[in-house]
Amino acid sequence: MTTSASPTIPGRTAEPAPAEQTHEHRRFRLRRPSPWHLVLIPISFILLFPFYMMVVTSLQTEAQTRRFPPLLTPPTPQWSNYATALHAAPFVRFMVNSAVVALIIVVGNLVLCSIAGYAFARLRFAGRGLVFGLLMATLMVPFQVTMIPEFLIVKWLGVHVWDQLGIDHLGALVLPTLATAFGIFFLRQFFLTVPVELEEAARMDGTSRLGVLFKIVLPLSLPALSTVAAITFLDAWNSFLWPLIVINTESHMTLPLGLTTFQGSHDTHWELLMAGNVFSLVPMLLVFLIAQRYFVRSVAATGLKG
């Protein structure tokens, strides 16, 4: 026994009357912005404040930096500070060095870790498990344990093999991290998810192993490769302790190291220090903003895999 509440018989698909339409428009525009902005803005402000102060100070004169309480805006923006800083220390040189080192390391990792990662994922060879395990073990060991012997090895290589590989040279900066266990691990994980059928089909068509890697697997692995590239670049660019140990000559220094010596020689000229600081921060910041996605993804991936 059903109670028949008035069965509505609409079925009207006609447009709403014009009056209703304008009413809807008006309601649309009065939408309030979310109250969460009140929370997010102060948080962002606190987080970004150091950047702000960096830029502001870099545009002040020396006298202005010595005011207390400090000025929160540059009254007469001194763009010349940047020129002065760039003259006082070879910042451009530092940046070029950093860029070269980082690029070589990134390319090296992408190539070597792809090949090795692929082999660990798909090829079978004697000792595969053991070697992989040993490589992963190196991830557990802190840098400080290995840095002294690494120093000695690099020194030996410079004397006995090729001086470019030795202390105070490009090779020393580049060689130890040209391939990383992290890169191999990450890429192997990814390659394991590529459907084997694709590779098998290519092999049946006669493609060599290397060919399969380059023509089939790598094109499908661009996100993983980008992620490895991003993380490797960040690490290489911001690396400090190792360059500190192996580089002595100013003209061979990378940016973080160069900035430190600049600090040493100008240590109370805050406006110049900040100019140098901003200058050396900008490239990495740009790379980060452009490739943000990949940085975030790589960090999240390591975190969620636990």
């Binding site: 950047f51 079978r124 557990m140």
Partner: protein, 310 residues
């Protein structure tokens, strides 16, 4: 691949490999050799060498490195500076890790909503990841400058006395905590935000219908489901905290009065400035063992509380 019927009985564990043609092994090794060579020379070899070095006396300059057995290790307990370094490292870690996690969690929770322009706020939170230690150190030295820095100006404005910060042995370490927390916030936010986004909205809806209020939902549902991320952060941040070096070198060189000397700084000093490389290697191994133990403990304890989805 035609050796099957006449092959001699295979040695245990190598059966399948015998059946592979030799070229397959060769290809595999060819592929991994370059990377293995690099990591072997610059990763595995140094690990062993370091161990050997810890039993020797070396100044990194002269080729003679006489064997001294356990002497380096025996020296460690009596080393007062090292004990100080340990103390500082522990204090630092105990402050840095929880602070960074808390800040990261709070900010991630605020960022976990669909507000217009949220991606800008998220970028602002992530961006500290791109900052190198020297950038971070320089700007914080400026902010905490005793005579001209913003922080002291702020204290002044609210009537509190000004501090010497990095020049004050009682405060320098805490300034370093502040600067490193800032530097690592981006990382913590990324981890927590990703984890938060993995908590299905349905669960929070269900809890809401069940009568739980906002904070209760967070405490009983959301936070427990974040536990894998929490464990990961605790472990990762601890490992990094125990290896603190850059910021100390760049700001205080371990001072004033050794108040910021931490283990790795002491290690560096011993190896490259005091030329006691053997002793430094021994210290490094001790640090290594400590890191392993602490990580192990964290995992054991953590696994009792961590709930993995699925």
């Amino acid at each position: 691949m035609a050796t099957a019927t006449t092959a001699p009985p295979a040695a245990p564990g190598t059966g399948i490999f015998r059946r592979l043609s030799r070229s397959e092994h060769a290809v595999g090794w060819a592929f991994v050799s370059p990377a293995v060579l690099i990591i072997g020379i610059f990763g595995l070899l140094p690990i062993l060498w370091s161990l050997l070095l810890s039993f020797q006396k070396s100044d990194l300059l002269t080729p003679q490195t006489p064997w001294v057995g356990l002497q380096n290790y025996k020296q460690i307990p009596g080393d007062a500076t090292f004990r100080l370094a340990i103390e500082h490292t522990i204090i630092y870690t105990a402050l840095f890790v929880p602070c960074t996690m808390l800040v990261g969690l709070v900010i991630a929770a605020a960022l976990n909503r669909k507000v217009r322009g949220i991606s800008i706020y998220r970028t602002a939170a992530y961006v500290t990841m791109a900052v190198s230690t020297i950038n971070e150190a320089l700007v914080f030295m400026w902010l905490f400058e005793p005579n001209f820095g913003v922080v002291n100006a702020g204290l002044n404005a609210v009537g509190l006395p000004q501090q010497q910060w990095l020049s004050d042995p009682n405060e320098a370490l805490y300034v370093i905590v502040a600067m490193t927390v800032w530097g690592w916030t981006g990382f913590a936010v990324v981890i927590y935000l990703a984890a938060l986004q993995g908590v299905p909205q349905d669960l929070q809806d269900a809890a809401s219908i069940d009568g739980a209020k906002r904070f209760t939902i967070f405490r009983t549902i959301t936070f427990p489901l974040l536990s894998p991320a929490t464990l990961f952060l605790a472990v990762w941040l601890s490992i990094n905290a125990l290896q603190l070096f850059d910021e100390v070198y760049l700001t205080t060189r371990g001072g004033p009065l050794y108040s910021t000397t931490v283990v790795v700084y002491y290690l560096y000093d011993q190896a490259f400035q005091q030329f006691n490389a053997g002793y430094a290697a021994a210290l490094a191994y001790v640090l290594f063992m400590v890191i392993i133990v602490i990580t192990f403990i964290q995992f054991k304890v953590g696994n009792r509380f961590v709930h993995y989805n699925r």
